[in-house]
Point group: C2
Chain length 192, copies 2
């Protein structure tokens, strides 16, 4: 078993445990057992728990962005691409393991004491907002639309997590339709 394989098994296992129970609730020994590695090997691959946390955040970011992008690319029109964001959320909220956005959660848990966690959460959200911004621009919408849709998506995530239901995705999607159509009317008027 090569080092990269071990590393990714550790990070994948940590991701699942941290998501299910919270980061602080999962000790190194529990992670060691679940990932089927020795403690020695664990510390050989990662110098500390916080470095595992950062690796988990990076994994989450890549996986989330890739999943979103796949759903968006499958949509036809620029307007449908914007709405595909909320279809992705609906799919995500329906998973049994869904327990809210991992970045919001890690920010809430560690952000106050760990500048690197806070910073990474900020960058993740910023990257999402830029992504939405690109989609909105491609749809010909004015710049104010992107933050509005981003806020809707954020709100759907926390609402679904706390309520334990996925209906927020559909509600946010219908709100997004209204906002998009209003913004496109404005955008077209402004461009004319």
């Amino acid at each position: 078993m090569t080092s990269p394989e071990i590393r990714s098994r550790i990070v994948e296992t940590a991701d699942g445990l941290y998501n299910a129970k919270g980061i602080q609730a999962v000790g190194m020994d529990e992670l060691r057992a679940a990932a089927h590695v020795s403690l020695k090997r664990l510390y050989q691959e990662f110098p500390s728990k916080s470095s595992i946390v950062m690796a988990v955040l990076e994994r989450r970011h890549r996986s989330w962005a890739a999943g979103l992008d796949a759903q968006v690319r499958a949509a036809g029109s620029p307007r449908a691409r914007l709405l595909a964001i909320f279809d992705y959320l609906a799919h995500w909220f329906g998973e049994d393991s869904f327990r809210g956005c991992g970045f919001i959660n890690s920010f809430a848990e560690l952000g106050a004491m760990s500048p690197e966690v806070a910073e990474y959460a900020r960058k993740h959200k910023e990257s999402f907002q830029e992504y939405v911004g690109d989609l909105a621009e491609a749809a010909g919408a004015p710049p104010y639309l992107a933050p509005q849709l981003s806020i809707l998506a954020e709100g759907a995530q926390t609402t679904a997590a706390i309520a334990g239901s996925s209906e927020a995705a559909g509600q946010a999607r219908r709100a997004a339709e209204v906002l998009i159509d209003a913004a496109l009317r404005e955008g077209i008027r402004g461009a004319a």
Copy 2:
């Protein structure tokens, strides 16, 4: 110093510390020192840390709901009342101590392992949604408007917390205007 005074000083101090550093990052001894009580007195007033956490959540709920209601009542029209929600958020986000919604944060930190924390967060959000629902109904809007505005408000909270900026309140407010006006047009058409 009577017991209720001591209790509320403990809860108030705990609220501040938990908000600033996270619940798990604040030990009982730190709380004892900050609240200027003896450890004996602390455990005389509260049987455990988790009972203090629940008392803090209750305090947060009351204070948040009262602050929101005051802002809403100051608004004139039903439409302005709905928008006052976002003015309240703007004011809140601007406070130095703002570090996100305490219920989202405690849910993220403890919700997975503590059913009572998860349940209390759920009830707090539910009560907010009902409050928005009452305002929306008074404005003559169809029932789908309330969840849309609630989701916007939730999203503004996490966005402002993670980005460390209060601009999400204004962005959410402008989105709310669009949603409210669209819903009122629909509502009037439906009622006619």
